[in-house]
């Protein structure tokens, strides 16, 4: 008995060993026989392999579902407007946009537009899509920005006229968002995956967890200028894995290069196309406790060593931000708006003393361990606040719990990162309306700022808009709806085979997928 058992095991192991050897031999053959992907028939078909930073959710029409979904939407969809390489809103499905007065927009569509399922795209589709997006009941993220729409009229052919109840200088920017695209009527519900569009490519093969294939949509209105026949998208949620895929030649282009890898990618001879985009900030629970006092919030704003946070979280791939982030191209921009406070711990201490806390107080700081840059920023903030006597305890759960705690106001202060949906500075409205969401100061509202932002959006006079934002800056500096920390660089990395791709500047960086329409492979 004791002899037969080992015997059987031994035979089994021998078989396994043989199998292993065979497998190794096989893989050896596979490896040497594998064709070199860099050569071949590039002149015949142009294929770009894109390493995308997330395994995206199924797209829901009208919903903003984050960067990864937006990247894919820029490939399959087009709206009336799109963004150009400078981040300006330019006509897309609309051949032209006429504005006979400040509240009327007449969109004339290109001739013969179709969706990727070959069905016709009519002015009625445009009207139906926009009507769907502006209806609050549909849960669309665009309902608030489109609230000024009074009527949408289609002539049934190629013209759509949109009338606003008041001027809205950001309206065309919102129409350019990837989730504001014109879609078939059948997609206008939350159940149908929002894949069918009138964009340059169509999604043909989705392999959950692995990737998807985008094939050129010959019905696209500008198809002759699209060089890429196919975009092979592979999902890489992990930043390190994504970078490795680029460096090893598995993919040609990646989004969201992690900051610690900027130098590594550049040193290896790849392009790191970076722009300063989203901003990080400290938000407050103003319902109760010390942070309800604007003086304490000011103290925090003066206590933050922003250079340190940029170094700690982004290895200096970002900029300190001492005020509100406004695009330099916007009429509202003025240098001082980005410099509402300075780094002055002594002033911070005296502000705390004035507020009645000469010896400081304890507080909890909510961050998340899931996004290390937020945690690193939080660590920097924790040090700065300890220096002025605020004894900060760090609470860094996973992102899901962070969102949940933020939505319940379960924190004293929190570190967040965010950006405007569009570059127009009216995006700041989110932080002053009293909507208690996870990334705005809990319980904070300021009707005066909200009113001024509304005025800024309505005025078509650049000087007036500039003046309005100067006033907003003054109030913001005193009342501190949030204390800003820094803006961070967002980068794409790509090989020298990729030409024509550019990262759109500012917060429009998240819509850089539009630039794939200009991209070709060498």
């Amino acid at each position: 008995m004791s002899f037969t058992r080992p015997n059987r095991r031994n035979t089994w192991l021998a078989a396994l060993s043989l199998g292993a050897v065979a497998a190794l031999a096989l893989t050896g053959c596979g490896g040497t026989a594998a064709p070199d992907s860099s050569g071949g028939d590039s002149s015949a078909t142009q294929v770009l392999t894109f390493g995308l930073s997330a395994d995206p959710a199924q797209p829901i029409t009208g919903a903003s579902q984050g960067t990864a979904v937006n990247q894919l939407l820029t490939m399959v969809h087009r709206g009336l407007m799109s963004f150009d390489a400078d981040g300006a809103a330019v006509p897309a499905l609309a051949q032209s946009v006429d504005t006979p007065d400040d509240t009327t927009f007449v969109f004339t569509l290109h001739d013969g537009l179709t969706f990727s399922d070959d069905s016709e795209l009519t002015a009625d589709n445009v009207k139906n899509s926009l009507d769907y997006y502006r209806d609050v009941a549909n849960g669309s993220q665009l309902a608030a920005p489109f609230a000024d729409i009074e009527s949408i009229e289609s002539d049934g052919g190629s013209t759509v006229t949109v009338k606003l109840s008041q001027p809205n200088t950001a309206f065309l920017q919102y129409l350019a968002l990837p989730f504001a695209a014109i879609v078939p009527d059948a997609s206008l519900n939350p159940d149908t995956a929002n894949w069918v569009g009138a964009g340059p490519w169509e999604m043909t093969n989705l392999d959950q967890g692995i990737g998807l294939t985008m094939e050129k949509n010959d019905g696209y209105y500008d198809a002759e200028n699209i060089a890429l026949d196919e975009i092979d998208v592979k999902f890489y949620a992990d930043g390190e894995a994504r970078t490795n895929a680029l460096l090893s030649g598995d993919v040609d282009l990646i989004d969201y290069v992690t900051w610690e890898n900027f130098d590594r990618v550049a040193d290896a001879g790849f392009t790191v196309d970076q722009v300063n985009g989203p901003f990080q900030y400290v938000q407050f629970n103003v319902e109760e406790g010390p942070f309800a006092d604007p003086k304490v919030r000011q103290a925090v704003a003066y206590a933050l060593n922003r250079d340190n946070s940029v170094l700690a979280a982004f290895q200096s791939n970002g900029e300190p931000l001492y005020g509100v982030s406004i695009s330099e191209k916007d009429p509202a921009y003025e240098k001082n708006l980005a410099n509402l406070w300075e780094y002055d711990p002594e002033k911070a201490k005296s502000l705390l003393a004035e507020a009645g806390y000469p010896d400081g107080f304890p507080a909890t700081l909510l961050a998340t361990s899931q996004y290390t840059f937020l945690q690193d920023n939080a660590l920097s903030v924790q040090e700065d606040l300890k220096a002025i006597g605020i004894d900060v305890t760090l609470d860094a759960p996973d992102w899901s719990t962070r969102v949940s705690k933020g939505n319940e106001g379960d924190y004293d202060i929190a570190v967040s990162g965010d950006s405007g949906m569009v570059t127009d500075p009216s995006y700041l409205i989110n932080w002053v309306t009293g909507d208690n969401t996870y990334n705005v100061s809990w319980g904070y509202s300021n009707d005066e700022i909200a009113g001024l932002i509304g005025d800024g959006l309505r005025t078509t006079d650049d000087a007036e808009k500039h003046e309005i934002y100067q006033n907003i800056g003054k109030i913001w500096a005193e009342d501190v709806p949030f204390a800003s920390l820094n803006t961070r660089a967002q980068a794409y990395g790509f090989s020298e085979d990729v030409t024509g791709f550019t990262n759109i500047p500012g917060t429009a960086t998240f819509y850089s997928g539009y630039m794939l329409a200009n991209t070709s492979m060498q």
């Binding site: 080992p6 095991r9 596979g30 199924q58 579902q65 990864a68 490795n244 949940s404």
Partner: protein
């Protein structure tokens, strides 16, 4: 005997119910709303309350918790594990695609571990001296080396510098078996390094022990060639405890795939589970936990029954 099997099966069903209830409660009591997460990934404006409500309604999250629980149980017993909140893919389909990939990775890693572990351990036990010292040192490093560190080094050397292997990703085995194994080589090696070190250690000590046995001395004394003695009488008898270690290690390997799948961007079941937890994708997490629980419970029942068949005393107890 039948009564014994019935009793074991009934206990298994009870266990499954318990696991189902535990996993359902655990998920629903952990903070984090799937609807909010679905509409907010890292950056970007916060979703509107209307949008969140719409998604909650669509996912059935607006139902009372007990109704959700009954719906979930009903689904499980009719073979419907629901659809992923995030991707809308049926959970059974997702698991059906992912489980074989993870098993392939673990199987390949086990193969490598057995081959190299037994070979190195046998060599160390037989030769002794500096060979033994080297293997012992190597196996100590192998056991201590974190999988993700070793994986990263492998990628750095073999993918980025030498460009011999892909840095990760997935090739379908059915379409291209050679390519699939080729792309699996680095992940399997990083998974195997700790396990083969364990096997090497066990083989070495077993070989040393068996070498001192009477029958080995007898075999030597009757003039058999040393290699034949080793192969037929030492190694063969050393492998029984090694096989036990392999059995236990297989389970540990399944757990280690979480890190390896992440480092090598391998779309197996572990990465699906991690993403599911991160996204509070209840159906996915529940589904995977059920499948794993069922696997373990089934294996235990089968083992119990086999013991029962082999040894009548077990049946009576």
């Amino acid at each position: 005997m039948l009564a014994f099997i019935a009793k074991r099966l009934a206990m298994g069903v009870g266990l499954v119910l318990l696991v189902l209830t535990l996993i359902f409660s655990a998920l629903h009591f952990v903070p984090g709303d799937p609807a909010v997460l679905l509409l907010s990934v890292g950056d970007g404006g916060a979703p509107t309350p209307e949008a969140i409500e719409k998604v909650r309604e669509q996912l059935g999250l607006n139902q009372p918790l007990f109704a959700q629980y009954l719906h979930f149980l009903g689904g499980v017993f009719t073979g419907d594990l629901g659809d992923s909140f995030k991707t809308s893919q049926p959970v059974l389909e997702a698991i059906g695609a992912r489980l074989p990939r993870t098993l392939l990775l673990v199987g390949f890693a086990t193969l490598l571990s057995v081959v190299f572990g037994v070979a190195l351990g046998a060599l160390a036990g037989r030769k002794g001296g500096w060979v033994d010292t080297c293997v012992t040192a190597l196996s100590s490093i192998g056991v201590a080396l974190p999988v993700f560190v070793f994986g990263a080094v492998l990628i750095l050397v073999f993918s980025i510098s030498l460009k011999w292997f892909p840095a990760g990703g997935y090739v379908d085995f059915a379409e291209d078996p050679g390519g699939a194994l080729w792309s699996l080589t680095l992940p399997a090696i990083s998974l195997a390094v700790g396990f083969s070190a364990q096997i090497a250690r066990m083989t070495r000590s077993a070989v040393l022990e068996v070498q001192g046995q009477d029958w080995v001395r007898t075999a030597k004394s009757i003039g058999l060639a040393p290699l034949t003695v080793f192969r037929k009488h030492v190694l063969r008898n050393s492998l029984t405890p090694v096989v036990t270690v392999i059995g236990i290690g297989f389970g540990t390997l399944l757990g280690s795939t979480v890190l390896v799948e992440r480092v090598f961007n391998y779309p197996g079941m572990s990465s699906l589970l991690v993403d599911g937890v991160t996204n509070r994708d209840y159906p996915v997490v529940q589904g995977i936990v059920i499948v794993i629980a069922l696997m373990f419970i089934l294996i235990n029942i089968v083992v119990d029954i086999i013991y029962g068949i082999l040894d009548p005393r077990v049946r009576r107890s």
